[in-house]
Assembly symmetry: C2
Homo-oligomer: 308 residues x 2
Amino acid sequence: MARQLIECVPNFSEGRRQDVIEAIVAPFKNRKGCYLFDYRADQDHNRLVVSLVGEPQAICDALLEASRVAVENIDLNTHQGAHPRLGAVDVIPFTPVKNITMDECVELAHSFAKRFNDALDVPVFFYEAASVRPDRTRLEQIRKGQYEALKELVKTDPSRQPDVGTKDRLHPTAGGTVIGARKFLVAYNVNLNTTNKAIADAIAKRVRASGGGFACVKGMGVDLKEKGLVQVSMNIVDYEKTAMYRTLEFIRMEAARWGVTVNGTEVYGMIPAGALLDSAAYYMQIDDFQNEQVLELKLLELMGEQEA
Amino acid sequence: MARQLIECVPNFSEGRRQDVIEAIVAPFKNRKGCYLFDYRADQDHNRLVVSLVGEPQAICDALLEASRVAVENIDLNTHQGAHPRLGAVDVIPFTPVKNITMDECVELAHSFAKRFNDALDVPVFFYEAASVRPDRTRLEQIRKGQYEALKELVKTDPSRQPDVGTKDRLHPTAGGTVIGARKFLVAYNVNLNTTNKAIADAIAKRVRASGGGFACVKGMGVDLKEKGLVQVSMNIVDYEKTAMYRTLEFIRMEAARWGVTVNGTEVYGMIPAGALLDSAAYYMQIDDFQNEQVLELKLLELMGEQEA
């Protein structure tokens, strides 16, 4: 069987104590089948964001070890930070990368949540594709009021109670954890040759789903004062449905309404090869291009087969 | 040390006997560090082309085993085929892919040639970057007259004698082998909305180095009768110097001279990710894009480090 690969970006509520940060990250290092892409601790947010890619089993094993360190060392009753949070292990999203479906990632989220709760006694809330309640799918809905409000609400409000674990109480120090499955997020920003932020705002509204634009796009206007430009900042939540080039050409077309041109664009963070190859094929008018013609992608596939 | 990766596309003079073809290819299969991308036998050419990517040592070990099979089973005195050839193992090019320089690939070609000749007694001619004679670098120069002419010429003509092994005779059945180092060839074709082949010929002449065009481009016009189109067929011999998008936009500009437009393009065979990402970044106006932002490229790097 071809090797399955997922992406996982767990968020932990610790961005200040370096020894705790390193202890949380340690299980992700030098583990067969688990590749630590990056980890960033933010002091103001008091939060640690870890980027992983690898095999589901290896990542889940490492996640459990890392979560144990976080649960034992972080007390939400004293934790303070600028970023909203619900627990020591705040969010764990599973994202399909290769040879695995979204349904399988949902199953993975559900089975890992049970294992996580059995081991650590921290209740779990499911979100996005892994949600088990149609009225509760978004992270913001679940985390509303944060730890402080939710630890009281779960006692009485069924709509705020966890999906896995004891219903009417959070963990006394580690709070709750949100676990789910979602597609890969592409962060793509388009900078415009103007200082008029109202133009970026107007275009952002038109390009995003909520404004009648592309179904898989979230967007907002940003003022890049130091550059003397404005930006349409986007999250493309399903790049296979809404290709990057379509958003760029749409923004170019709308900007022309004010005689404004595109200064440049920015891909923020990681991006799957397919997202860029798709746009390259459009602009270069490449017929019948297969991603496995790309040497590195084919190599990755063969390496996966050889090891499996 | 980061894992070194090369591409190697050895050509063997056997395209008809299936048992011999499979015996030649067998050493490339299921070998750690050697990845068999593809192999194609052509009956008319009576030739086998194998595509490999992997670690230098693993590929060289496999090449020696495969070459022994070819040398023991192919007799150039009875071999016939449409493609020019000099030996049972006709050509072996080494191409840098990752963490290895062209100079290192030249050294690899030279050291492998010695090992190859010691083991099989087949003389070796060096070509392209591995050439040791400034007057003899191109494959066509070395192979001119093919096996039949060269087996006589080596007896008397120093300019046609091999670089490694006995100077004045080829192997009595396996002939000689051309070994070298070269950059990755990108085969990129641009189809034009016209049936007038003279236009493709004229543009091909302008785009290629020999006609005063791009230094790293070879090109010719091709009639695609069944499609009702003509094609500018290119080999880009150094895609890092001459980016694909420049050749496309150049051809588009020249074609406009006749009011002709680009119907589509074709990437033939394998292509390194960097070649397409470079063009994607141009068309999408992406500032400061790093190839390691691509999930699969970063993963490949981390996998190489973990195994090293």
